[in-house]
Amino acid sequence: MAGVDAGNTAWVLLSAALVLLMTPALGFFYGGLVRRKNLANTIMACFATVALVSVQWVLWGYSLAFGPDKMGLIGGLEWLGLNGVGLEPNPDYAETIPHQAFMIFQGMFAIITPALIIGAVVERIRFGALLLFIILWAKFVYDLIAHWVWASGGWLSNLGALDFAGGTVVHINSGVAALATALVLGRRLGYGTTSMEPSNVTYVVLGAVLLWFGWFGFNAGSALSAGMQATAAFVTTNTAASAAALAWMVMSWLHRGRASIIGTASGAIAGLVAITPAAGFVNVLGALTIGFGAGVLCYLAVMLRSRLKIDDSLDVWGIHGIGGTWGAIATGIFADPAVGGAAGALYGNAAQVLVQLTAVGVTWAYSFTATLAILKLLDKTVGLRVTPREEMMGLDLTQHAETAYS
């Protein structure tokens, strides 16, 4: 076992298990936020995404994203079916763990990113169309951006963009795609006139809690070894989540006179999103600032979105798009060389902010355009939306002939 370290391997594999848990956790987070007639469908959408993208990832996804670089743009097909992706470490990615451990850890990120978009399409998308969308989006959007930012040879990576655990690749990417999706799909029937209250606050919290728990794997696991940087990422993750939860709680309290539970849970997620690109680079005071900022900014973004009457139903754009953008920029500001070796504007390297802005801009532009294209294609061919009658009856019954609970 030359080169494989047991401590680091245990760390990365368990982190992968934690990240796996996040996607179904998202199902409960999202599921609790929709009306009961669509609760099981929402959970199912996330669950099926796990299965679908897992298979896609070992067949071709990993090869496209991390395979031998072609001009900085995409990975080659050399690693199809994990051909050549073995148990020996691949020093390009991680020196002390089996290559497949890196592969499966990355696979979990490939799963959750398209799943995040589900928050924008709930309660009205055909289940079959959703699966098609996810498989196409994984291939034409996720795998590419992942390559650019994280693969050895990716062009944004070469530019020096900092993205510790996926602020651009995962969060901006899914958040902006969600915006495009909400625009193409249109509003839910009765949006703005009928009440669409969340049906299960306890599931929202359950989901948020499991997401928080899994996020330790997501962020601290991204150090790919269990040492100082992982520890730093763990601490900043917990701190930013807490600060953002408090910030959103206070905002809701001031604004509506009551401390919102859903708001506090959403705030925690916003903080986790924002710290994601920064986790292994900033110190604890940076994390506090990023967290508080995320709580306030995402709260405002959600207010704005609702003013604009765009039915990004569960605010994927407001939380992941804006939270990710804020985090990516803040990484360029607060990166402390004592933590992860990279310096941000506060530590004399103002140029980093520009690099971060470039990565942010590129991700926004590409994700928005490519998502739009995929959706238009699907809408023209298979059709995206259920019929009005199905929408009124709810997706649990019409898509699955099952109900959440009775």
Binding site: R35, R36, K37, G190, T193, T194, S195, M196, P388, R389, E390, M392, M393, G394, L397, T398, A401
Partner: protein, 113 residues
């Protein structure tokens, strides 16, 4: 006194509540039911076998009113809960022989005040 029972779509509750409030009718009671009507539901066929879903979630709304308010309340509920699609539901009127307000023991008209 009458008891008006309406079976409505769950998403229409807010509208109905607002409409009732606006005509000064504050008291009401609501609960979840599932129902099937004459036509609503969906069915699909797989290899000759028919599958059907017919029990759909609805809300039942109950308002106790004076006799002279019946028509106004009826109309208000009807208008505010209508979508025009099959499955909008039904309203029925039952006769109430007497009513009591538990807190005070008042009966009849006074129980509603």
């Amino acid at each position: 006194m009458k008891l008006i029972q309406a079976i409505i779509r769950p998403e229409k509750l807010d509208d109905v509540k607002k409409a009732l409030k606006s005509i000064g009718c504050g008291g009401l009671t609501v609960y979840e039911v599932r129902g099937r009507g004459l036509q609503e539901g969906i069915s699909w066929i797989v290899r000759g076998h028919e599958y059907r879903i017919d029990m759909l979630p609805k809300l039942k709304l109950e308002v106790i009113v004076e006799d002279d308010e019946v028509e106004r309340v009826l109309e208000t509920i009807k208008e505010s809960s209508k979508t025009g699609e099959i499955g909008d539901g039904k309203i029925i009127i039952l006769h109430v022989e007497d009513a009591v307000r538990i807190r005070t023991g008042e009966r009849g008209r006074k129980a509603l005040k």
